[in-house]
């Protein structure tokens, strides 16, 4: 396993948004987390990435070629340094920075240059800086948005903004990529392109992918395993076929449809 959450819970005041959830991710997988609106999926991601300290439970990682460590309660930036990167459900780019700069910020956590380096701009800093520009540009090409390179992020079309979030996340050199509804708001054609992108990230970039998604066809096409949450609890887990036929899952989704 490379990520393991044990009995993870998160309370907001009286509301238990995540309730004793156990999840395990293995290297090279594409795993999906699904569930009706308000099930607690995003909150689970937030706990894993350190945005909220979980109320209870443990999170462990075991990076490929590394050893198992707990990341429970670490700050988000520490977790990012350890190789977990994420995107946000409501796109959170750095809107006034350029596309390239957005990606460069992602890569910056792997660099060393400090204030002195910035001021003196010695050879090492200059080389580092050039490397960042080069690498970031390569990432933009891989993600397919290099034509926007010097535009401000806020001026990008919606689909490209979603892609830029992924680009920025992989710039941090993660081993596990957490995507929160990457296909939200995309048209069918963009979604199909996203399929390809995610598969290639796994196959070419050797990333493990854990994604939250409401687009069931995408989830069924891509994921090897699926976790289902409802009201904060994990209600099912298994292969797409298993999950699809699980009565609890059907009920959770139908129940939502009726109320909606």
């Amino acid at each position: 396993m490379i990520l393991k959450a044990t009995q993870l819970s998160m309370d907001f005041g009286g509301l238990r948004a995540v309730d004793r959830v156990d999840i395990e991710i293995h290297e090279g997988e594409i795993v999906a987390l699904i569930g009706p609106n308000g099930a607690g999926k995003t909150t689970f991601f937030n706990c894993v990435t350190g945005v909220y300290p979980p109320t209870e439970g443990q999170i462990h990682i075991n990076p490929p070629g590394g050893t198992e460590v707990s990341i429970t309660g670490l700050k988000p930036n520490r977790i990012a340094e350890r190789g977990l990167a994420r995107t946000f459900q409501n796109i959170r780019l750095f809107p006034n920075m350029t596309v390239l700069e957005n990606v460069m910020v992602g890569r910056d956590c792997r660099l060393k240059a400090g204030i002195l380096g910035a001021i003196l701009r010695d050879r090492r800093t200059r080389e580092e800086e050039e490397q960042v520009i080069h690498d970031s540009h390569e990432i933009l090409k891989k993600i397919g948005i290099e034509q926007h390179v010097n535009e401000q992020a806020k001026n990008l079309p919606y689909g490209a903004q979603r892609r830029l979030e992924i680009a920025r996340a992989i710039a941090t050199e993660p081993f596990l990529l957490l995507l929160d509804e990457p296909a939200a708001g995309m048209n069918p054609q963009e979604t199909r392109q996203l399929d390809d992108l995610i598969l290639r990230l796994r196959d070419v970039e050797k990333l493990t992918i854990f994604l939250i998604e409401h687009d069931m066809s995408l989830v069924m096409r891509l994921s090897e395993r699926i976790y289902v949450m409802d009201y904060g609890e994990l209600i099912a887990h298994g292969s797409p076929a298993e999950v699809k036929s699980n009565p609890l899952v059907i009920k959770a989704y139908l129940g939502e449809d009726v109320s909606a």
Binding site: T49, V51, N77, E81, P95, M97, T98, I115, K141, V149
Partner: protein
């Protein structure tokens, strides 16, 4: 019909303002001498003013709306060919009239002669003008340093700092007191003042690390007041409200300088320090540290998720900002040779804020322009000087509503890529990017 309706609206608005401002504008009472003065002409002025003003306001608001919708339209359209910011600055438009763009200014052919002329003017300035002029210019340059310092916190880090004058005070008092008690000279005090101020900056930043933006504003304001009250009340050390007198001017290898020479010398020190500041701030903003700071200012949560240590970034910003305030403070003490707590009130912090906002947050040329305008204009247009603070207040509101980017908005650096990268053949896009979209 439309026109009539607008007209009626504006008339009503004018009436509203006349009535609203009537007691304070028209009647002036003096309860000491027990006199009442009626100034009816002001009601008429108010009526005309607000009538015209309402049209101007509406016009500007409509333009703002149009600009915004244009931008969103562009954002959602697939083909966004030019990456330049949609907001054209005043300078850009002026330049365009000359058939130039902002990039023309960057071209060597234009930039070098322009810089040379500017340099020549700046260098001969103290010799061809009076001491009085030099003194004003020294003040202006000191404020340029202050504004560039605040710009690190406000412009890059997007943190509203309302206690900046406190760091200015710390710099000034470091020199003033060291000079008074121990006879320490300017050149030694300069780094000490910067260091003292930086330490204070870090001390302030530690408790506010976790605070949201608006609380930060209040805490920094509180900090500024605490420092000032300490300066007033610790009179055993600081000499209280009467302040520190006869501080030495900067020394030049122990030479005896006449007053004129000393001022000229101070002028050049200020000038050198401004250049030094610009150099460093410019390098910082295009570095890893600067990027992380901007990212934090843009979106704290996203920045942290991308591995930015926002606590450290905040500390760095506060410390760096404070360094410049400290340097400016030492310069101020050396220039006036007399300091007291009155120079470091909340409104002095707001004045510096105003410079950054007027010029353009995060934009170095903007901030310099802002500082020069706000110091020099009231000096040379004496009619203004009474209305200075009133106008500054209005400037803050108007800039925020109509031109949040300032006079010379920050333009993000466009990175030039190596030729082989521009061809885009090196890597095959994963998953067919939009590039392949029909």
């Amino acid at each position: 019909m439309e026109v009539l309706k607008e007209l009626r609206k504006s008339l009503l608005l004018a009436l509203w303002f006349v009535v609203l401002t009537f007691p304070i504008m028209v009647i002036r009472v003096n309860t000491i001498t027990d006199t009442i003065e009626w100034r009816w002409e002001r009601a008429i002025l108010m009526a005309v003013g607000s009538f015209v003003g309402s049209f101007l306001w509406k016009f500007l608001l409509a333009r703002q709306e149009a600009r915004k919708s244009r931008q969103t339209a562009k954002g959602s359209s697939e083909a966004s060919d030019d990456g330049a910011s949609a907001q054209k600055s005043l300078t850009e438009r002026l330049l365009a009239r000359l058939g130039w763009t902002r990039d023309t200014l960057r071209e060597k052919k234009v930039a070098i002669p322009a810089l040379a002329i500017l340099g020549a003017i700046v260098i001969v300035f103290p010799f061809v003008t009076s001491i009085y002029q030099s003194n004003i210019m020294i003040s202006a340059l000191i404020y340029v340093i202050l504004a560039l310092g605040l710009n690190v916190v406000l412009g890059l880090g997007n943190m509203l700092h309302l206690g900046f004058a406190a760091f200015y005070a710390i710099g000034a008092y470091t020199y003033g007191l060291l000079n008074h008690y121990f006879g320490v000279g300017f050149w030694i005090a300069l780094p000490l003042g910067a260091a003292a101020s930086a330490i204070a900056g870090i001390l302030l930043a530690i408790p506010v690390l976790r605070l949201r933006g608006d609380y930060l504003a209040i805490v920094t304001l509180a900090f500024g007041e605490i420092i000032r009250l300490l300066l007033v009340n610790l009179s055993g050390i600081t000499m209280g409200p009467s302040g520190v007198k006869s501080i030495s001017r900067p020394g030049l290898f122990g030479l005896d300088l006449s007053y004129t020479q000393a001022i000229t010398y101070t002028y050049f020190i200020c000038l050198a320090l401004v250049i030094f500041t610009v150099f460093i701030v410019h390098r910082l903003e295009n570095s890893r540290i600067g990027r992380q700071l901007v990212a934090m200012g843009e979106d704290d949560i996203a920045a942290r998720a991308m591995g930015v240590n926002t606590s450290r970034a905040k500390l760095t910003a506060f410390a760096l900002g404070a360094v410049w305030a400290g340097i400016a403070g030492v310069l101020f003490a050396a220039k006036t040779t007399f300091i007291n707590p009155d120079s470091f009130k909340v409104w002095d912090s707001v004045l510096i804020l105003c410079m950054v906002v007027l010029g353009g947050m995060a934009s170095i040329p903007g901030v310099i322009a802002g500082a020069l305008i706000l110091i020099l204009l009231p000096e040379y247009l004496r009619v203004f000087s009474d209305y200075r603070l009133l106008i500054f207040g209005a400037v803050l509101v108007i800039m925020m509503v109509f031109r949040p980017g300032g006079m010379i908005p920050k333009r993000r650096k466009a990175y030039k890529l190596r030729p082989e990268e521009l061809q885009g053949s090196a890597a095959v896009p994963v998953g067919g990017g939009e590039g392949d979209a029909p």
